[in-house]
Symmetry: D2
Subunit: 242 residues, 4 copies
């Protein structure tokens, strides 16, 4: 069976600089995700900002079916060339899963064309994620909703385009709502934004959060969408023959 090549990209700075984060994710958020997502049909590798080429040189990108992205404080340190290479790969069919504070990552803004601004508040609030797409592959195994005891609040208005299909909508204890799971298509690539995962909470160990991310990997994998006959553009003479 051909495995899905997954690359988990992490900014990997909080874990080095903040003992509270390191205590939760001693080997980095990427490692917690890698362990939690491990499955026979997935070939998972990790990459991070401070590696050469931002950890995403062409040889890695070309062998990535689905890219998972976690960043927060150093979005501006990601090279524009890296952003362009990742974007080109998405348009060619690579899946992209953007987590939590990745809403402000250059690559996500590059795909949406918007500012991706939102409201936020760090108060460890209880949150409930409501399932608005019960038949969607991304919600397989999730019921009507699931809860997280503590998460950073992200609230509307979330500045994303109208074609974002809402998979989850969240309730936060403090009074806010948020489109917390949203899909997009860009070129031949599928994109999923998913809100949970602030660095100071343990939510990347949560069964439901991992289940959703795992479902999203299988949904976004180009194997599922690149039908063998998917056309390139015909030579002009073919057009002229019409």
């Amino acid at each position: 069976m051909k495995k899905i090549n997954v690359t988990i990209w992490n900014e990997f700075r909080h874990e080095k600089e903040n003992p509270a984060v390191r205590e939760i994710y001693p080997d980095g958020i990427h490692t917690a995700l890698k362990n939690g997502l491990a499955a026979d049909d997935l070939e998972i590798r990790c990459a991070w900002l401070d590696q050469p080429g931002n950890g995403l040189p062409p040889e890695i990108l070309e062998n990535t079916d689905v890219l998972i992205w976690w960043g927060h404080r150093a979005h501006h340190e990601v090279d524009d060339e890296t952003v362009k290479n990742v974007h080109d790969r998405i348009l060619a069919g690579m899946g992209l899963i953007v987590l939590h504070s990745g809403h402000f990552a250059k690559i996500f803004q590059r795909c949406t064309g918007t500012s991706c601004t939102l409201k936020w508040r760090e108060a460890g609030e209880r949150t409930i994620l409501w399932n608005l797409a019960p038949d969607h592959p991304i919600t397989r195994g999730i019921g009507d909703y699931f809860e997280l005891a503590h998460e950073e609040m992200y609230g509307e208005k979330f500045d994303i385009p109208e074609d974002g299909k809402v998979i989850f909508a969240s309730w936060f204890e403090g009074g806010n709502v948020f489109r917390s799971g949203v899909t997009f298509e860009r070129g031949r690539g599928r994109i999923f934004y998913f809100q949970p995962g602030h660095e100071t909470y343990r939510n990347y160990y949560d069964r439901n959060v991992l289940l959703v991310i795992g479902n999203a990997i299988r949904w976004a994998a180009p194997e599922l969408i690149q039908a063998p006959q998917a056309p390139g553009y015909p030579p002009l003479h073919e057009i002229n023959q019409l």
Copy 2:
């Protein structure tokens, strides 16, 4: 100035049967809305279920630019012929504003093609309506959000089609979220669904609720969308001349 002809349709049963409702809306929900929406550019009349022709005979419909609909317990008593006449008028350009429990009205289901099911709980919960479309005419005068001290909870999953543009998304004290203000277009007609307005709360006296409904009337009025040149379909010979 040509005024916008508004017809407020009310089931008008709770007010007669339930003293608690009558105390809040002694002359009916329709009268409270009529008084609250009164303005120089609006010509407002009321109609209700127990009038001949369900209160909506052709001569009324043909002189209605925007129809406001409140119903709850007697949806099934609305004649199918009335539903067809209202639907035809919407396709020709009449605006429709569906309030609260009107989500289950035959005419709303006829326009959406879906079941319009949702979750609900009657517990007088605090609700916050978040403004997801700050530049939309329907939210003129509304800031980031507004609150209602007590409202019936309506919660996701709300079974409506994907083309529903979300204007408001609500937070409810008890843990639910809801797309509480949604627009649709059907034929030449514009439709707005708006959640607030349970018969046992005073929310049709609320400044913000009335402001939103008033904005929606001006947005949905066909004067605004029926450009003089809006084409009928050309005779077939014209097509054949192509």
Copy 3:
């Protein structure tokens, strides 16, 4: 392997009344489709208007995963009860494939909420169907486009809702364009409208037309979307526990 239960519904009047149609479809359009779509994973039956219960009594509908619909002159003869039963079944997850003049079928209008009006001209025009969704399961095996030598012209403006996802867009020799393959979701059901198939042309023997309809059957089959955990709505006490 569980087979997909397909019911092909045909108005089945032209074939009886018009020798020119009978020559092309001697056993009815439904039979040509049944033969052309035959495959190991499909269990195909046929039904038509003049059978008891319009050919779609509950016991048939309850055993139909995907319903294919061809009608033209007798849309008004389909009972409203039949329309309601089919619609309820679609909302519960049954797929619906509406062919050609079925754009005016009560069931399609019931699902769209619009008039489904369009321009038309019967002149045996050459048409080219352009593939706007090369990675969609419905276009599997189809390249950039395919052609039909003769088809009835259907032209814009096609009055359907904005959530119609355009899979094919057609060019007609006489100067018109049309959204000729469009998908919708209503409740848990998937719907595909496909333009080819006027009764006086041989297009239901065309390889590409059959390929598209066959792909649409597999795409619309509820097995593909009814994940075992797909939730019903929880009892209210569960909601109240939130």
Copy 4:
């Protein structure tokens, strides 16, 4: 009356290098558009690539309500900083009208997040633009369709996001179809892409082409969408009070 400040940006290279183009647009495409769009409610200025700051320094952008963009061969010569400044201004509410070969402009790709690839053929084909949004302000004064005797063919598949609302769909003599008028919203800004306007045809002197562009200017002007009460985001303490 406050006028709408319109800036017409032109690459302005073909006119200098190609006598055939110069003969049609002796003072540049921008001048033909400026003259054709002149109206009492518009304050129109022009800018072009070879001016300092690509002709769009901050003092110009800050005083532009609607920017019209025509480019073709030198998209890569537009500075990334200019693209960023224009994009930021769009998100803040400036309208953008992208013409013809501007589909490949950096700023349009920045807004869509896609490749904007399409098929093309330069053969002076007759084209018919069908009006799919007869009630939209952009089609005011346009009937069911209008024709152009000669235009470069642009054909599907046009790689743009699903939220593109189709205003015009085009038929081309050679057998192609194209979404030739499409609107988008990004942040607070409105965007309109319009296909006509190859440099070797006289279509920027065409009454209907000018009418559509003029309508699009009034539709995209931020005065129309920036209601005075349009909210900024409340200070965090206000959020925390919820």
